[in-house]
């Protein structure tokens, strides 16, 4: 069977390629990676008027066929037919921003030189008109020698004309592709300016919206304040909007777990399904609402054009830590959850900047650490008021957040001077026009992110939780023995104990560390389980978990445990997403090792200092 005709969409960043791709293919999209690189491959299916299906691929936005970033290299290689995992396109759809012709035409001219059957979509004509720019579509068609169709992708205008033009083009016999004709960039640029000038019918200078908005949003004083307010609202939303859906998911998981308990006979299988799969995946799935709300904001900030403004405002500060302004939103998102934070690093062009950001993102205090912090602080830190109504407990919590931030910045500095030296520094971005995003584009983006997360929960996370369950359940304890001791996990816990004994951890903590790999907040339930098993005889003397912990742990141990959680990479979702985003096991393994090393050192220092101070 012949493969479907392949149409590639190419154009400059911010030309509206993705909106046009969404408008043409709707929800029939597939998102994956090109083999061997971390460049996203987005493809979809378009059905022409006569019912013929066509595959459409949305190539990464590029400024030219001379690549600066890995994304641009993929675009070039696909177009030249030498990208692994992609056949050569049969036709090319070039997207131009109508109000930025003198720049976008340069790449378009380079693309037309390739000799593929080509259509040009003159996109965002509405914004160009709003800015007082009247363009001559016929003149442009004449100068470029290919069909030019006016479109407004976000409003779905011009699509039927575009489809008709595609239909025409794919029906006519195709001729071969020229080898990469290398007209020099300056020549192309000058030719692009000539054509752009020829295509402009009239231009009335209008004080553009974008400039009015930028005067406020990029103002040296007002700008950062607005950014802080936007970020504050985003976090409020992440935590307050997610409460209800998290409850739904939690009760759904509980219902499923009850149902499975009723249906399955008691034994290993029931235990595997209920305690392993449902409990483990359930713990991870409860983060889905937060992740989606966070992504809703990230997509919104990106689509409106505010995201690069935030990067502009924060660049200098981030540069101080060896990062770029682009790292700001991903790192901030990691305060809710490192998973969407790491996924959001795709907006960072420079590969070393991006890797550094991914590697330090887990140091931001994510929401899964809160239950652990809350438990330990409530148990060990006296609820004492200091000055001006500042409580000691709150101060310790704040200190843990600061420790995470300082740790991340320090780690970034070290990484940029060591394993990830070089590159970077190249903070060069286009500030696109502000735009009202379409709800459909945002919804499609959210759907894709949800699918990626759920697919991972259904595969790698499910697998890992079952392995963790098996380690904790095999072999089965005989009557009178403790399951937590005879199981394989118990033996591993005993081995961990010898390692963590010097930093003040007792056997119970060592036992809890392995199951906590599923997700950090599992530490609370693991510790609760261990103490509910061990304290059956003196249950009356200690009622709450906090009381039990106070009896069982000396203060230095508790403080060391807190310090451990600031750094320890105890979250398989984060490790899994790092593997996906870096396309291999090298960087996730590096991340896990350096974070565990940091956690060990931090916990050790805390413990020894506390003991020396006689706490």
């Amino acid at each position: 069977m012949n493969p479907l005709p392949l149409v590639a969409i190419a154009g400059n960043p911010n030309a509206g390629k993705s909106a046009l791709f969404n408008a043409l293919t709707g929800a029939r999209q597939k998102v994956g990676n090109y083999p061997g690189v971390t460049v996203e491959r987005k493809s979809g299916r378009l059905v022409l008027a006569d019912g013929r299906p066509v595959e459409v691929v949305d190539l990464p936005g590029s400024y030219s066929l001379d690549p600066v970033s890995p994304d641009e290299a993929v675009t070039r290689d696909v177009l030249l037919g030498r990208q692994k995992g992609e056949r050569q396109p049969d036709a090319l759809l070039i997207v131009l921003d109508a109000s930025n012709l003198d720049n976008h035409l340069r790449f378009a001219l380079q693309l037309i030189e390739l000799g593929l059957p080509t259509i040009v979509a003159l996109n965002m004509v509405d914004l160009a008109r709003r800015d007082g720019l009247q363009l001559d579509q016929a003149a442009l068609e004449r100068e470029l020698g290919v069909p030019v169709v006016e479109t407004v992708a976000v409003r779905r205008r011009g699509l039927s004309e575009l489809q008709a033009a595609l239909d025409d083009m794919l029906s006519s016999p195709r001729c071969g592709v020229h080898a990469h004709v290398k007209s020099d960039l300056l020549h192309l640029q000058r030719r692009a300016r000539e054509i752009a000038t020829a295509a402009v019918i009239s231009e009335t200078p209008v004080r553009r919206w974008t400039h009015r908005l930028d005067a406020v949003l990029l103002h040296p004083v007002v700008g950062p304040i607005i950014l802080a307010v936007v970020m504050f609202l985003m976090f409020q939303a992440v935590f307050s909007w997610s409460a209800t859906p998290v409850d739904w998911i939690a009760s759904g998981v509980a219902w499923l777990s009850d149902a499975a308990t009723r249906i399955l006979p008691a034994g290993l299988l029931r235990s595997m399904v209920v305690d392993g799969a449902i409990a483990g995946v359930g713990a991870v799935i409860t983060f889905l609402p937060q992740i989606l709300i966070l992504f809703f904001f990230i997509l919104l900030l990106e689509a409106t054009g505010y995201m690069v403004r935030a990067a502009f405002l924060m660049d200098k500060l981030m540069h101080g830590a060896g990062l770029s302004g682009r790292a700001f939103i991903p790192l901030l998102s990691s305060f809710a959850c490192a998973v969407p934070g790491i996924m959001a690093t795709r907006t960072i062009d420079d590969q070393k900047d991006r890797l550094t950001t991914i590697l330090v993102a887990p140091l931001m205090t994510c929401s899964a650490r809160l239950p652990v912090y809350t438990l330990i602080i409530a148990a060990f830190i006296p609820d004492r008021r200091l000055v001006f109504g500042v409580g000691l407990q709150g101060l310790v919590m704040f200190g843990l957040y600061i420790a995470g931030i300082v740790g991340a910045l320090a780690a970034a500095l070290v990484l940029r001077r060591g394993v990830l030296k070089g590159g970077g520094g190249g903070f060069m971005m286009e500030l696109p026009k502000y735009q009202l995003p379409s709800a459909k584009d945002i919804a499609l983006g959210l759907l894709t992110r949800a699918q990626i997360f759920l697919k991972r929960a259904g595969t790698i996370i499910l697998g890992t939780t079952i392995v963790l369950w098996a380690l904790a359940s095999i072999p089965q304890a005989a009557p009178g023995q403790k399951q937590s001791e005879v199981s394989i996990a118990g033996h591993i816990g005993a081995a961990i104990e010898t390692v963590v004994r010097p930093i003040g951890f007792n056997r119970d903590i060592a036992m809890a560390l392995l199951p906590t790999m599923a997700a950090r907040e599992v530490a609370v339930s693991s510790i609760a389980t261990i103490y509910s098993i061990d304290s059956t005889e003196d249950a009356a003397s200690a009622s709450t978990l906090e009381d039990k912990l106070r009896h069982a742990w000396p203060l230095p141990t508790a403080l060391a445990f807190l310090a451990w959680f600031v750094f320890a990479p105890q979250c398989i979702s984060t490790i899994a997403v790092t593997r996906r985003e870096t396309n291999g096991w090298k960087w996730p393994l590096f991340m896990v090792s350096y974070l565990f090393a940091l956690a060990y050192i931090a916990a050790g220092l805390t413990y020894w200092t506390a003991v020396a101070l006689g706490l």
């Binding site: 600066v68 012709l101 990029l218 040296p220 502009f312 200098k316 540069h319 500030l431």
Partner: protein, 88 residues
């Protein structure tokens, strides 16, 4: 041409916000290959009209500029490699 010493010219990073200027010369050697390439992609070229629009809030870095019809942001370090003639 000893353009950098011409009294009527300034490096781009010293051009005041809101002052329109024309690019006289670009010291491509002061930039690494990727940076130079990206500047060309943004349309930086001798003779092009340029205008600084905004400065970053911390250390007046980076700089947002209008180049042709585009608005781009580059760091102060990159702007230093561009020599311009102010049009007052």
């Amino acid at each position: 041409m000893n353009a950098p010493f011409d009294p009527g010219t300034v490096p781009l990073d010293e051009l005041a916000v809101g002052t329109r200027a024309r690019v006289l010369s670009i010291d491509w050697e002061a930039l690494d290959q990727g940076e130079a390439c990206r500047l060309r992609h943004f349309g930086f070229d001798e003779g092009v009209a340029i205008e600084p629009l905004h400065l970053g809030p911390f250390g007046r870095d980076p700089i947002a500029l209008r180049v042709g019809r585009m608005t781009v942001a580059i760091r102060r370090r990159h702007a230093r490699a561009v020599r311009v003639v102010p049009l007052t």
